[in-house]
Symmetry: D2
């Protein structure tokens, strides 16, 4: 099929990119959250939107929940709703940054009562996992301080270890915990899990089912992210990705939008390190904000970017690459990588997509479907979902 | 008076550090805005809080307004309220980032109608200036784009020039316009006024009363800010400072909290370049967010930091410094600067403060005053001020 | 011709990318400069190598000189040698960073005698320009300090202005001066021309034939370089590019190697802003170091990268882009840009190249030519050229 | 004794800051290495210079060697020379970046023969340790690549683990190995030990006597270094510091010169985490380049900076700090830290120094000693030491 072999295409068959429920709600900056017509008011409407992405791409049969934003009374009913829409519940994300109690920390808080409250919240998340069939509990910890001296860095780290142990002890045998790290924000002096080394040290102390979550927007300027991917795969501790892209800080832009070549390099290391394909322990997720662009199309663009770049990563002639590397042929080796990157895989993917009963151009198909117009007209009243609800 | 000569102290007599009204309201990140007891509900209450800072420090007789957050029906009454509190209205700040119309730009917007709306807003700000006696109009422009291709960079720049001209033409002979630049946020791909060069080029095209505002938190990592201070003073275009500090991005922490030595170097260049003292065109303002710390004490800490560091900057033996520089004595010259920085000016300033009828320890005096307890108890009901109100 | 129209290809006809003579010599880091067989010993051998790049690509008929590294006794003879090789002398680069006298500055030095020495060196460069037909004098100034207090920032800036004026007064009516800026290195506290704003302010004070040189590796992390390109073109002050790429600092890697999408965006703004094509004042130059890769192939790869990315920039459907931008269609506009970027222009360029009597695959042609083997065998003895000689 | 208690001063008694032999030789950038009169030609002369630093400060009785730069035929004689000068040999530093064989790697090289050569070099370093009584082998690995695809990141990491194991197996029971990490340079795409996480993972696989070396200049912009100090101490893996300071990259400036407050925070975490004082496993070393300033005075300034900042770190009222932290008193806690930082410890240290038979002002004493004049006059001829020799 043109530039892509059938063997390569078969490796794309099973690709799953999990969508975050919150990407369909409104988001913004501390300055302003703009609202848009058609924005979902409930988790059910978020699932419906996510199903549209899957319908035209075939790539996103899973939707990650965020608790409490997506709390419902009846998770069986939610599971049924999802099933009807052709999706399932993916990772459950906890929230320890919006309750007034957490102003000075949650799992790291000096106060044992507040720590327990945060631990209990994770127990609740595990209950949601049990009820929905979700397998991964993701912890992104906003804990940190804004001023030198404000907190005891070491004490906080020790308390974090203790809290994580309590949560880890609760997850089931077939469930996993992934611990995300982040360079900064919302804390501006120190963050309690600021880098992969800290996340790695913490999860290593827990056990096999505790792993690291790598958010591609959570690093210091200039960080070689694919190196971290390689290292975590080598150490057996890469659990999942939060894909997005950034020019400056944690911009949460569409994955691949800021530096497509970086995304390519990351996916190349994923493939090379055994992080892709059936049996791989690595979950692919999006974590993005569509502040100014349309949300459903934004998600469609995102999963297609990941798919197209995965195809390019799979295109790399690794045999020739090994040979060039072993021969110390710097430009030759680099050229083999670049050749895959510069190959236009889009026509072959469009053709292949059609062969699987999917639209050749998913974006066009979605825009032509009338769905956007419909939700804009019918989702009237109520409270549009955003990070607060 | 100990480490500080009377001549040096006399130079501190007239120091004025303008307080931002919004520093007394709640602020936070896109993740959460924590509220606190006693937070003002109105501009009048903000002025009352600002007056407390001035009362114990003698440093902050001016308060900057933000329109529309601080809009009132009767500016004469507001002026009277301020006067009773011992403060006056300083810079008027416009807001072109919170109206739904500005989602894709304000002064740079492709739509002439929206541009005019933004221009009209500035006319309204000038009316407020006229009514309150404010002399400076400050424009911080949030305009920008999130994705490559989203906007025409050149067209936006040209429209900006046109909009600024219209605003500049409206300000009075004794009024000034200052144009702030910012590296990024809320836009994540390009910002229309991202650096001092752009602000300088834009204001130079307007006239003498258009100047640059330098926010100390609005630069790329590693930027030598004191160099920019020197250059803008040399070019006659430094109009004002927005003081704050940062470890990562635009963290808006207390000035001097993240890198006190950098604040020292900045103030040294201000003094050396003629930007300090009576007759200087440079306005000192704070622009900070007290997300987790108490707001009034946060402002007290801030103005004291600026005062103490100004004292250290004035302490530098410039004659000896010149000699060492001319002799290419690298370590000698550096040591002259460091000697001033490492001098503990706090005891002398406390003594001097007392001699002027101010508390030796302004923070202690404020905390002992009962003011905080009082506002926490009495400011009940209503809507606490934050960036949205 | 496949993906590229004949109209587009005709715009590529006249593209010239100037090669730096020093790229053919050895280079490295402060830790080590590795030598390689076949490295030129003289400027004549450098020209011969440069001619090879032009021979297989048709893109590089100009070679920039660096004085004193490329000084000869007889410039007429050098001009003849160049002509025989099918190349001409391009920009003349001055050097004010390797003489012991410049330890504490050159054009900014406190000592008038040393300043004059540096000015005289530029007069000598202008003489070389006159003798070789070069039209551009490029000044990259390494001047700066390593420690706060070491130098008087303002005094140095004023002396720089004075020195530049003296040099500018000497250049001929048909010659230009371009002033390069650089974020840091070799100075580690302050650099006297650290940003585009400073270069712009300095050249604006001189006259029409003084312009800014933008080196793509000389910015703070995260800087939006294409914005600066747009702004300098808008202000009529973009004189030339030093192309290279970077992951961290001034890495001087092959242009397009680190962030191909950034190179695309830069070239798109060049094209859109009138900086490309006959009559444009913008000179395209390379400034790179081939520390570990082969030098001639490194230059071939570089000019091809610029050509391919220029083709992609020319591919952008600007009419559709304008329409999408005006309609505030964020994803649509972005997609139009990305569509051009993701188009594989290499096959069409290969075909077009063959039609012009050039090898379809320049790299393969060079590697097959035996040139590399020949110079490795025959350039024996003598001193291999590097930055010192 | 003024601001410093006798208990605090007694904690300073045993402070040792190891000097790098190479700091006394010439250094520079890739652009130029400036030479200076009096620069040592031999390791014996370097030791003599280092002894001067110790003579006036009492802080630096140890000198680190760099092999092969400091290789001698007779290490017994070298040990005697050192003893006569009142110093001993400290850490032995290996060099795997200047041999032509290491162009594409050393301990990570694809070629087993070159790996063994690099391993053998470390065996030789261990022999030097045995002969000189040195206890620490420090490995800073320059290995890395400049272009994506050039090397196999995973393969290199595995080979590194294997090479390190062989070296670790050779060190004696009372010896240690410390593995330094560095963000970038001399490699510009990937570095094989780029961050603390990688160094930690590698040394953890080896054993108790393998530890991490933290160079304060080897991090991405914005990195919270004191957090890493805390974490490594918590994990029991902080072996040593390479102190220096930076504004941009690995500038290797005098420690404390760029951001004194950061140095303070680092030392505070060292003290708090048990990394300071008798019995602590953490070695304090300098690693700096005196490119433009005098070298012996540069080292004097450096050790005094560390001593003064250690005194400030010890000054922190940790009891009050704990109380403020536990009370969530952000500004109070911060103020306790800042109070120590802003205290001028210099007069008390001068007085204390005199009481121990040391000059009150070490810099002045050195400058008055005539040593500099003497070496400038007598060290004539020979090859001044620099990184190459």
């Amino acid at each position: 099929m043109g530039t892509l072999s059938s063997s390569l295409l078969s490796q794309l068959e099973s690709q799953v990119i999990e969508l975050p429920s919150w990407a369909f709600g409104n988001s913004g900056t501390r300055f302003k959250v703009f609202s848009t017509p058609g924005t979902p008011r409930t988790i059910q409407e978020k699932l419906a939107d996510a199903a549209q992405v899957n319908k035209v791409t075939g790539l996103s049969p899973k939707v990650a929940l965020h608790i409490p934003w997506d709390k419902v009374d009846d998770y069986d009913a939610l599971r049924d709703t999802a099933a009807e829409l052709g999706v399932t519940v993916g990772t459950v994300n906890s929230n320890t940054f919006q309750d007034d109690a957490y102003k000075f920390g949650s799992l790291t808080h000096i106060d044992a009562g507040i720590r327990q409250k945060a631990i209990d919240h994770h127990f609740e998340c595990i209950d949601v996992m049990d009820a929905t069939g979700s397998q991964d509990l993701k912890i992104w910890l906003a804990d940190g301080t804004n001023y030198p001296g404000q907190g005891n860095l070491r004490g906080r780290q020790d308390r974090l270890a203790d809290s994580l142990q309590k949560i880890y002890d609760r997850i089931g045998e077939s469930q996993r915990m992934v611990l995300e790290y982040k360079f900064f924000e919302p804390a501006f002096y120190h963050t309690d899990v600021p880098d992969w080394g800290t996340s790695y040290a913490q999860v290593s102390a827990l056990g096999d089912r505790a792993l690291v979550c790598l958010d591609t927007g959570h690093h210091a300027p200039g960080t070689n992210i694919e190196f971290i991917v390689m290292q975590l795969l080598r150490l057996g501790k890469l659990g999942s990705f939060d894909f997005n892209s950034r020019f400056y800080a944690d911009d949460d832009l569409i994955v691949g939008a800021a530096d497509p070549f970086q995304l390519f390099r990351i996916l190349f290391e994923v493939v090379r390190g055994g992080g892709y394909g059936p049996g791989s322990p690595v979950a692919f997720m999006l974590d993005q904000c569509h502040n100014v662009e349309d949300k459903i199309p934004g998600q469609i663009r995102s999963v297609l970017n990941v798919q197209e770049m995965t195809a390019r990563a799979l295109l790399v002639d690794t045999e020739a690459l090994d040979a060039a590397q072993n021969a110390e042929d710097v430009l030759g080796a680099n050229n083999i990588l670049m050749d895959a990157f510069y190959t236009d895989v889009r026509p072959a993917l469009a053709e292949w997509r059609e062969g699987r009963g999917l639209p050749a151009d998913p974006m066009k198909a979605y825009l032509a479907s009338g769905y956007q117009k419909n939700i804009a007209e019918t989702r009237v009243g109520g409270q549009q979902a955003s990070w607060g609800a």
